[in-house]
């Protein structure tokens, strides 16, 4: 069964303290791995799609990387406005839908 696991469930950082969020997956036929940001009371905001091991993508303070078993979302020198829940999802096989992890709730304190 396809599965996505995110860790940690929650992460508290001080402003400027870099860290990484993990998304491990077990799927057959990965076609893409997605990262989203979700603020309270809002829908997920698309960040990245990664397609193959070794691929990296960056957006402002965020950098996503992908291996054959997991993806990391690196946050460099975070700011309080980076506080949100970060969701990972995989697009696999012929299902045509995204399988989501439960997310990592990030809090950045000034």
């Amino acid at each position: 069964e396809d599965q996505v696991t995110q860790s940690p469930e929650a992460l508290r950082l001080q402003e400027g303290e870099s860290s990484s969020l993990n998304c491990s997956y077990t799927v057959s036929g990965l076609r893409g791995l997605f990262w989203y940001r979700q603020d309270p009371g809002k829908g997920p905001e698309f960040l990245f799609t990664l397609y193959s091991a070794g691929e990296e993508k960056e957006k402002e303070r965020l950098k996503a990387t992908l291996t054959k078993k997991e993806s990391f979302l690196h946050i460099t020198a975070p700011k309080p406005e980076d506080s949100a829940t970060y969701l990972c999802a995989v697009f696999a096989g012929s299902q045509g839908n995204l399988i989501f992890g439960k997310g990592t709730k990030l809090s950045v304190k000034p």
Partner: protein
């Protein structure tokens, strides 16, 4: 990227009643998806809605409980029927964007979500 709006943004409903959620996209899209996000849980796909054909439901979801309409390429509705407190959740509309040729696979794929409808059933 597609801009997606949903109505209503939130509602409080009594058990046994039904609520229809509307999803409007600012561009024509082939596939639209409806997801549910229960408190503290990950997003779960309810069904895929293609224009001109019946929706395809995921395991655990049935048409009688969640009827879907897709009258054109920019609009869809999801009805939550005969509601119970267990249906309290956020319901999200989503569309896919299969872009141009920028990746080694020759296909780029992105999926966007609407703001969600927060439903509380009492």
């Amino acid at each position: 990227s597609a801009v997606i709006s949903q109505k209503p943004s939130r509602d409080i409903c009594q058990r046994g009643t039904s609520l229809t959620i509307q999803c409007q996209v600012d561009s024509q899209v082939t596939m639209m998806f409806w997801y549910r996000q229960q408190p503290g849980q990950s997003l779960t796909l309810i069904a895929t809605a293609n224009q001109g054909s019946e929706a395809t439901y995921e395991s655990g979801f049935v048409i009688d409980k969640f009827p879907i309409s897709r009258p054109n390429l920019t609009f869809s509705t999801l009805t939550v029927s005969n509601m119970s407190p267990e249906d309290s959740s956020i319901y999200l509309c989503s569309v896919e964007d299969r872009g141009g040729f920028g990746q080694t696979s020759g296909i780029s794929y992105e999926q966007y979500f609407g703001p969600g409808t927060r439903l509380t059933v009492t």
